[in-house]
Symmetry: C2
């Protein structure tokens, strides 16, 4: 595997990941780009004890451009994109409109019992196919391995950055989920705080350990493998199941069989075994309603500095689609009170996903 | 004020609230309705220590029917709806497809470390205008007072029901927010647990009291009134402001100036003063982008049994609309990690809302 680091015209870092050590990634970004925006600010919400990022510059970010102006396609004659090279396998670069960054900014206090601090961190874009119309589910196993290498590289490097508390690798797919660029891509957020969801789960894991002596995530995985009824697919190193208390009409969690705090700690055989199972699960999702499934795929990893002995790296994949022509919306109960109502039985979702015929 | 209780054809309760004590609400529901669905089940999510309601029967609920088949319009010749009367002011009835109810159901354990229990509770629909094309913002003050009486009546009565831990009055407005019935209406959920958001805020309020001796919500309100820059509107008894750490591109909180745990504790003058301020705020929202603003309006009230001395009843109003042609989606960061990124400065939202000319 070859890693090539370069910089875009406005100073942002870009990294190519190639299987072929001879890949030529010397192309230079010749665009005339405006200066990078200042970093966002973080505001403390005293009612929830959570930090909210306020990034005003993102209002004007690129919004669903036509395919001919896609910034995630490789550059070509007469057409300069975010990726200078005329081709790529996997490429990662700093987001032009980041929610977190290390650019200087101004952070006046704003009163109202809310503290303000800089939104230090980093947001990266992960492109894994030069094909504008492809999808993660269509990637061959060796390409998924390369994406995994990129996730691992970025997790290790971003976790070591001053101020970064958690690295989150994810993919939003589909207009229904709010993507602003149609070209398939993932993202990586390096947060300057431990996210609310992770705090919640680490608290639960700590109480579980005090009560039972066991690891919460390992015990959930063991119980799901024993129950079997919600398992969607598995191989020697990974199991995919619909959680018993699924929040979303389509939701699948993928766990490695061995507890690791983050992707960095996966062994070679585990890294290799992930792709075939994951892309199979994605194809089952696409088969469920006969239309490409919109989804969020979220890697839950240990924070950089705390709770690492309690954490268990796993992927949570979910969709807002509840029928071929209906979406699940987060309205009053979910969005205001955090109280989820799921209209679909998890066992039924698992059964239907298992029944999809995949090549 | 007159309250008339009746039952629909399938046994669900319906209550009319009228300003005129002589209103005739004797009409009988003559529809041939199928039996009511069994109650949903609650499943415990061990990773978050939260309960998820699973209500399979809701998959087939009425979905955006044409106006001629609207179940929330009054009944008329040849057309029988959920409201038997040929007219109404405010009417509340049990939801035909409830997320929580007291109907019997079956609750087998499902394994996977998730406990299952009955989804005991109640879900009600609140209709406040017989006009299919109207909106809450267009209600005259005396109608809003009547809605307030209905909220108070239902909060008191549902809080006293066995198993109910929290009563949540709210309105979802707009297709963008996922409404399944276009006729303007609110809802009331009587939950069999304290909701995740309320638990979070009560924890924060308790720590704030230990640290400062003050009430968290009262201190936030006082600080916002002092800062002034985010105040949108106010009168003698209520203040509306954009919170300093707003999560949503449009977000306004309305607090009564006197701390009350729930709406039941509001005095007459406070009840009366709410409507004019709230409908003014709603009209400012509609004026912001020149299109009817989709929103969630959520009454945060004290739980029925715990944390009442810490609670401060207030309304949180927010929208997913961030521009005339763009929505805010909860994608990876928000939906998977609970980490919000807001693209709009709260002070800017407040300034723009203040500048809207309302009649």
């Amino acid at each position: 595997m070859k890693r090539t680091i370069t910089r875009l015209a406005d100073g942002r870092e870009l990294l190519y990941f190639d299987r072929n050590d001879g890949a030529d990634r010397g192309a230079i970004d010749r665009r005339d780009l405006p200066p990078r925006p200042g970093a966002s600010e973080l505001r403390y919400d005293p009612l929830t004890e959570e930090w909210i990022a306020v990034a005003g510059h993102r209002q004007s970010r690129t919004f669903l451009p036509p395919a001919g102006e896609c910034p995630l396609c490789p550059s070509g004659p007469g057409r300069l994109t975010e990726i200078p090279s005329p081709s790529y396998e996997v490429v990662v670069f700093e987001n032009r409109f980041p929610s977190f960054s290390t650019q200087p900014g101004e952070y006046p206090q704003v009163g109202g019992l809310s503290e303000v601090r800089p939104g230090v961190g980093r947001c990266e874009v992960v492109c894994f196919t030069p094909d504008h119309d492809s999808s993660f589910s269509a990637l061959p196993p060796d390409r998924v391995e390369l994406v995994m290498e990129a996730w691992i590289d970025r997790t290790a490097e971003l976790s070591a950055m001053p101020g970064v508390e958690q690295v989150f690798c994810f993919e939003n797919r589909g207009a229904e989920i709010g993507i602003t660029l149609a070209h398939p891509h993932g993202q990586i957020y390096a947060y300057p705080y431990v996210t609310p969801r992770t705090r919640l789960s680490l608290g639960a894991a700590e109480r579980h350990r005090e009560r039972t002596g066991g690891n919460l995530f390992a015990d959930v995985l063991a119980a799901e493998r024993e129950a079997g009824v919600r398992v969607v697919a598995s191989n020697e190193h990974w199991t995919a199941f619909v959680p018993a208390a699924a929040r979303w009409p389509v939701e699948v969690h993928l766990y490695p069989h061995r507890r690791v705090p983050d992707l960095v700690a996966l062994e070679e055989a585990e890294r290799v075994a992930f792709g075939p199972l994951y892309t199979e699960v994605l194809r089952r999702l696409d088969g469920l309603f006969g239309v490409p499934m919109p989804y969020v795929a979220a890697w839950h990893q240990a924070p950089a500095r705390v709770g690492r002995e309690l954490s268990y790296a796993h992927l949570e994949l979910f969709s807002v689609r509840r029928a071929p022509d209906k979406l699940k919306y987060l309205a009053g109960s979910e969005a205001a009170m955090g109280a989820f109502v799921n209209d679909v039985l998890p066992e039924e979702t698992a059964r239907r996903l298992r029944s999809i015929v995949t090549e």
